[in-house]
Subunit: 339 residues, 2 copies
């Protein structure tokens, strides 16, 4: 198995991507294609004393930053590490592509270059969302801001397959994010989607209110990309602000400072539970090839985990299963291209 890795992406850049790739080669028995500044990659490989033959390098003249307009960047920067990596997947020269670069560019590039599976109207970004019980898979997390009900039905099916095959959850519970639990609650979109989810070949558990999301009773959370992004970002923001408020209170007196000191290991463990870099990358579901978005702040371990995830994705033939399941849903699919 050969997995392409965007060497240039993420906050930690080559430090994380090269080390993570070496660890993946050693621990997972995969081959890696590292795409990026060849000289720098070579330096980093030798700094890590890697001299094996399971890592190939493809030089990339440029890279796409988070600040660039995604569609424009993908169209113009043909020699970027991201575009090269996506083309490797499209041309079947790599089995999967892992990048911790710009989410928007990876999504756009995935659709433009790797393209959608036949029958899939929209590809979705599926994010592992940390809960009290472990993780739930949240999709769509931001790829599609305006959705039709049938897109949500497809997200549900794709998320269910992914949860079963990659997250090893048998008969995953799929819930529709809504503002009430009973059928008939919600906006036009969620009301219509409810009916479609009921009729899909999934373990549909009905609506879930946002209040119950952190409990972790759903394995797959389905919503449009606007709502998904709100959920994800609000969670990040709240966790950050709750920590900073706690810190303020803890630093406010001598006894509370001592208390905070005694609690440090517990707090660290707790912080880890909320940290979704622990749970691997986010797959783009619905494209013809395997594309995994690793978190922007990924360290070497997170990159290795994302590579492992890509490997399991390929081994389990998730794309073929999505294709079969989506086609069994029937229905007329949008033929319009999104870009």
């Amino acid at each position: 198995m050969k997995i392409a890795v965007d060497a240039m992406g993420g906050d930690q850049g080559l430090l994380a991507t090269v080390k993570g790739s070496i660890d993946a080669v050693n621990e997972l028995g995969v081959s890696i294609i590292l795409i990026g500044d060849e000289e720098k990659i070579k330096n980093e490989l030798s700094r890590n004393e890697y001299s094996g033959d399971k890592i190939e390098i493809i030089n990339a003249e440029e890279s796409i930053t988070n600040d660039e307009e995604p569609a424009m960047a993908i169209r113009r920067k043909k020699q970027s590490s991201m575009v090269i990596g996506l083309n490797l997947v499209k041309d079947k020269e790599a089995d999967a592509f892992v990048s911790s670069g710009s989410t928007g560019a990876l999504l756009t590039g995935g659709l433009l270059i790797v393209k959608r599976i036949k029958g899939v109207d929209r590809a979705a970004l599926a994010i592992p969302y940390p809960t009290k019980k472990g993780i739930s898979l949240l999709l769509d997390a931001g790829a599609n801001t305006d959705c039709k009900a049938k897109y949500l039905q497809q997200f549900a099916v794709m998320g269910s397959i992914y949860a079963e095959k990659i997250l090893s959850i048998s008969n995953p519970k799929v819930s529709l994010v809504n503002i009430g639990t009973e059928e008939g609650k919600g906006n036009e979109l969620s009301k219509e989607a409810y009916g479609l989810l009921k009729n899909a070949n999934i373990n549909f558990a009905g609506n879930i209110e946002a209040r119950d999301i952190p409990e972790g009773n759903a394995d797959v959370l389905v919503c449009d990309g606007f709502v998904g992004n709100i959920i994800l970002k609000l969670t990040e923001g709240l966790a950050m602000s709750i920590f900073s408020m706690l810190k303020e209170e803890f630093m406010s007196s001598f006894t509370s400072k001592i208390g905070a000191l005694l609690l440090k290991p517990g707090l660290r463990k707790f912080k880890k539970r909320l940290d979704y870099t622990e749970y691997g990358g986010a797959p783009l579901l619905g494209t013809k090839g395997v594309v995994i978005k690793a978190h922007g702040s990924s360290d070497a371990k997170a990159i290795k985990n994302a590579i492992k995830q890509a490997k399991v994705f390929v081994e389990n033939k998730v794309i073929e299963k999505i294709e079969a399941e989506i086609n069994s849903l029937g229905g007329n699919y949008d033929t319009e291209e999104r870009f």
Copy 2:
């Protein structure tokens, strides 16, 4: 000034509503009409040794519970404390109505009985949202699941007036909840709303991402009722689950238990900062009369605060200001009735 209070609503029922009303009479100099089971109210008044003449009682044969379908309950239970209270406002026999009963029923009843201000397409529920810096006013918090851009424009205008007049924030910063900060980001609704908010007579601060909401940089947060409800409920759920996870970690060892003990006052203070019952009730904005939803878990203090809020609302002629401002926006308004 005469304020009608639903004596039967809320988790604490008469304990909170009667005591809160007595405190309001004593501290704020208002007159109160308590609506509910007359005998029980009389008992509760004498238990609190109130014998003044500023509290009038109107007997209500029935009350609406949280489990009832709102529109049905409002239509059928003409003798409920909530319907009687709303009719008092409509008939100008009371200046305002405060209830800690069913949110859905109060919203529906507000629209059906008190009715919308001319020019206002949709009334919105505005919730005080606790942030690091204090509170932001979030609207719509769930009254309107499907919105047009012009509704959001009206929410922005009404929220801005309320923040200025009731929350005493001069020139309040109004932000549009979105999934990106730049103009042009978001779904169809938020993109169109951006343009309308730019042209409204408010201090429009552009888009705000959900990640930045807890920081408290916006005074007014505008979104549709579906997204507003997700934000509110997710915040509640996360705060609860973060506390329970913290508790787990804190109880995991002897040293951490001692640590938690030392931190108790800080934690309590922190919890209070997140507790939105501290910040008064949620007004229904856009109706012809003043309707305030007090939190379901309101204690006597929260009820008194909601009454105070109603008083300031009336004194500041907020409804007249909303009417003038909405009419200055121009445009063709929906004439269809929602119920």
